[in-house]
C-alpha cells in the first residue's frame, strides 16, 4: 500500500511534467455559472476532436468572467449578459440565449403570479402564501448574491433595487437556487430557464412560473416572446487567435447545436 502511494505521489507528477512539454495546449475558461455547464460540455466535445488539448472550466459569476479575463487569470471569460459600455476593452462572442424565470416548489398550489405580486413578495409586502390564495405558510424569499448578472437582469426587469429586496436566503449559483427551492416547499426563487428546465426534466421538485403571461420555456425565449431573456457570451481581452479562436468558432458552429439544446438553451449560429 505504502509503495503504491509512493509510486503514485512521486512518479505521477514527474511523468506528467514530462508529458506537459508535449502538450502545452491548454485553455482556462472562467465566469458565469449559467454558461459554465454548457461550456463544459462543448469543451468535452472539442477535446474529443482535438487531441492533446485540455480545457479547464471554472464557474463563478459574470463579474469573475470579466475580471479573470482582464487579469489574464483566464484565456476566455463567460458572461450571461451583454457587455456594458465600460467594458468595451473586451471582445464578446454570443454563443446562446437564455431566460430567467421564477421557480416554486413543485407542491406549491400557486400556478401564476402577476409581476406586481412578485415585486410585493420580493420587497416583503406579501409575507404569506395565503394572501395569494395558497396555503397558510410564510414565504421564503430566495435571492441571488451581489455581482450575479441574473440578479442584475431580475431587478432591472422588475424595476427594483437590490437594497429593496427582503430575502430570507441568499444563494450563489443557479443550481444552488434550484436546490434551495426544491428543498423548501414555501420558497420562491429565480434562476436561469436553462438550468430550471434541465433540472425539472431530471425530476427535481420545482416548477417554472410564467412571467407577464408568457410561460417560461426555452421555446418562448427562442421566438422572442419571453420578456426576461439575455445573451450568453464568451469574452476575450484581445482579438482571439490560435486555439482560442478555434474554440470560440467551434462554440458558435452548427456542430454544437445539439449540445446547446441538451442544456435547454437557445443556440445562436452564424
Amino acid at each position: 500500500m505504502i509503495k503504491f502511494l509512493y509510486v503514485l505521489l512521486v512518479w505521477m507528477p514527474f511523468s506528467q511534467l514530462a508529458n506537459a512539454a508535449d502538450v502545452p495546449q491548454k485553455l482556462v475558461i472562467t465566469g458565469s455559472s449559467t454558461v459554465a455547464p454548457l461550456i463544459s460540455e462543448i469543451a468535452k466535445a472539442f477535446e474529443a476532436s482535438n487531441q492533446g488539448v485540455r480545457i479547464d472550466v471554472q464557474s463563478g459569476g459574470s463579474s469573475r468572467g470579466i475580471s479573470d479575463a482582464r487579469q489574464s487569470m483566464s484565456d476566455i471569460g463567460m458572461i450571461s449578459r451583454d457587455l456594458k459600455p465600460e467594458e468595451n476593452d473586451l471582445k464578446g462572442f454570443a454563443i446562446a440565449k437564455d431566460g430567467i424565470c421564477v421557480i416554486l416548489h413543485k407542491n406549491n398550489p400557486i400556478t401564476k403570479l402577476e409581476d406586481s405580486q412578485i415585486v410585493d413578495i420580493y420587497t416583503g409586502k406579501i409575507k404569506n402564501w395565503q394572501e395569494l390564495g395558497g396555503k397558510d405558510a410564510p414565504i421564503t424569499v430566495v435571492n441571488k448574491a451581489e455581482g450575479r448578472s441574473t440578479l442584475e437582469l431580475f431587478v432591472n426587469y422588475f424595476k427594483l433595487k437590490n437594497s429593496d429586496i427582503k430575502p430570507h436566503v441568499i444563494i450563489g449559483d443557479n443550481e444552488q437556487g434550484v436546490k434551495t427551492v426544491a428543498g423548501n416547499a414555501n420558497a420562491i426563487g429565480y434562476v436561469s430557464i436553462g438550468t430550471a428546465e434541465y433540472d425539472s426534466a431530471q425530476g427535481v421538485a420545482i416548477k417554472l412560473l410564467p412571467i407577464g403571461g408568457t410561460s417560461a420555456s426555452i421555446e418562448n425565449v427562442k421566438n422572442g416572446k419571453f420578456p426576461l431573456s439575455r445573451n450568453l457570451l464568451l469574452v476575450t481581452t484581445t482579438e482571439p487567435n490560435g486555439l482560442k479562436k478555434k474554440f470560440i468558432e467551434f462554440a458558435r458552429s452548427k456542430e454544437v447545436i445539439g449540445i446547446v439544446k441538451q442544456q435547454y438553451l437557445v443556440p445562436i449560429t452564424k
Binding site: T140, A145, N162, S163, V169, G172
Partner: protein
C-alpha cells in the same frame, strides 16, 4: 540557552546557520506578507470611501456603493458567542465526567471519541447541518437556515477540542489539592466546584479563547447553514451572514471596490485574531503561582 555558548564553534557551519536563519525568517515573514497583501488589496476602497463607511453606510450593497459591515460583524459575534456559551459548559462537564466520574474504560472510549471528532472536517459538519439540521429547524420555525443552525453546528465543531483542553487543564491540577479537599471532608461536588475548577481556571479560559478564534474563522459550515442574508438578526431563527461567509460567497465574482471591500473584511478578521491572541497571552501570564 546554555547549549549555544558551550557547543562546538559555529564558524565552520556558517552556511547551515544562514540557511536555517533565512528559512526561519521566511516563515516568520509570512504573516507580514499576508498583512501586506490584505492591506494592499484593501487600500483602493479605503482611499475611496474611508474606514468609517464600513460602519456608517446604510447597508451592504457593494454594487450600489454601500459597504456597511456591522450586521455581518454582529453575525460573527452572535454565532461565536452563542457557540462558545454552549460548548464551554458542555465541554467542561464532559471533561469532569471523563476525569472524575466515568469508569476508566468508559473514560478512555470517551477521550478517543473526542480526539477523533476534533479532526472532523468542517465541511462534513456543514453537510450534515444542511441535510439533517436545517430541514428540522424549518419544521420548528421557518425558514430553517438561521443563526440557530449556525450556533448548533459551531458548537459541535468546537466542543471536542474544548473538552480535550478542559481535560488537560484538570489533569494539571496538583493531586494534593484533591487530597487536601478530601481531608477537609468536602463532598465531591464541592471539591470539583470549589477547588478543581478555580485551580484549572487559567487553562479553561485560554482554551475558551482559542476556540472562540476557531469559531470566528469558520467559513464553509456556516455558509451552508446560515442562509447568508445580510441583516442583524431579531431572533435566533433569523438567517445571518458572517464576515467569513461574506468573503466566501462573494469573492468568486467580486471586482473593483467590491473585491477590495472583501479584503477589508479579511483585515478585520485578522485584527480580531490578534486581539484574541493578546488576551490569551495575558491570561497565561497572570496566574503563575
Amino acid at each position: 540557552m546554555l547549549s549555544n555558548s558551550i557547543l562546538s564553534p559555529l564558524r565552520n557551519e556558517l552556511a547551515l546557520v544562514w540557511l536555517l536563519r533565512i528559512l526561519a525568517l521566511m516563515a516568520g515573514a509570512l504573516v507580514l506578507l499576508i498583512f501586506a497583501f490584505l492591506l494592499n488589496e484593501s487600500l483602493p476602497i479605503l482611499g475611496l470611501v474611508g474606514l468609517s463607511a464600513f460602519f456608517s453606510d446604510p447597508s451592504w450593497h457593494p454594487m450600489e456603493g454601500f459597504f456597511n459591515l456591522t450586521s455581518m460583524l454582529l453575525g460573527t459575534l452572535y454565532a461565536t458567542a452563542g457557540s462558545v456559551l454552549l460548548a464551554a459548559p458542555l465541554g467542561i462537564l464532559s471533561a469532569i465526567f471523563c476525569r472524575f466520574y466515568a469508569p476508566t474504560h468508559v473514560a478512555r472510549i470517551f477521550r478517543n471519541l473526542m480526539e477523533s471528532l476534533s479532526g472532523v472536517p468542517s465541511v462534513v459538519f456543514g453537510f450534515w447541518g444542511l441535510t439533517v439540521l436545517v430541514p428540522l429547524v424549518n419544521q420548528i420555525h421557518p425558514p430553517g437556515p438561521s443563526l440557530f443552525a449556525g450556533i448548533s453546528i459551531l458548537t459541535m465543531m468546537i466542543l471536542p477540542t474544548m473538552a480535550m483542553a478542559a481535560d488537560a487543564s484538570f489533569a494539571s491540577v496538583p493531586q494534593n489539592y484533591l487530597r487536601g479537599a478530601q481531608a477537609l471532608g468536602l463532598s465531591k461536588s464541592a471539591t470539583l466546584l470549589g477547588v478543581v475548577l478555580p485551580a484549572a481556571k487559567a487553562g479553561l479560559l485560554s482554551g475558551l479563547i482559542l476556540q472562540s478564534g476557531r469559531a470566528i474563522g469558520e467559513t464553509m459550515a456556516l455558509l451552508m447553514v446560515c442562509g447568508n442574508v445580510v441583516q442583524t438578526p431579531k431572533n435566533i431563527f433569523d438567517p445571518i451572514r458572517t464576515l467569513t461567509t461574506n468573503i466566501a460567497l462573494e469573492m468568486a465574482y467580486a471586482m473593483g471596490s467590491h473585491r477590495s471591500a472583501l479584503f477589508v473584511s479579511g483585515l478585520i478578521l485578522m485584527l480580531f485574531i490578534v486581539v484574541l491572541l493578546i488576551a490569551a497571552e495575558g491570561i497565561n501570564r497572570v496566574p503563575k503561582r
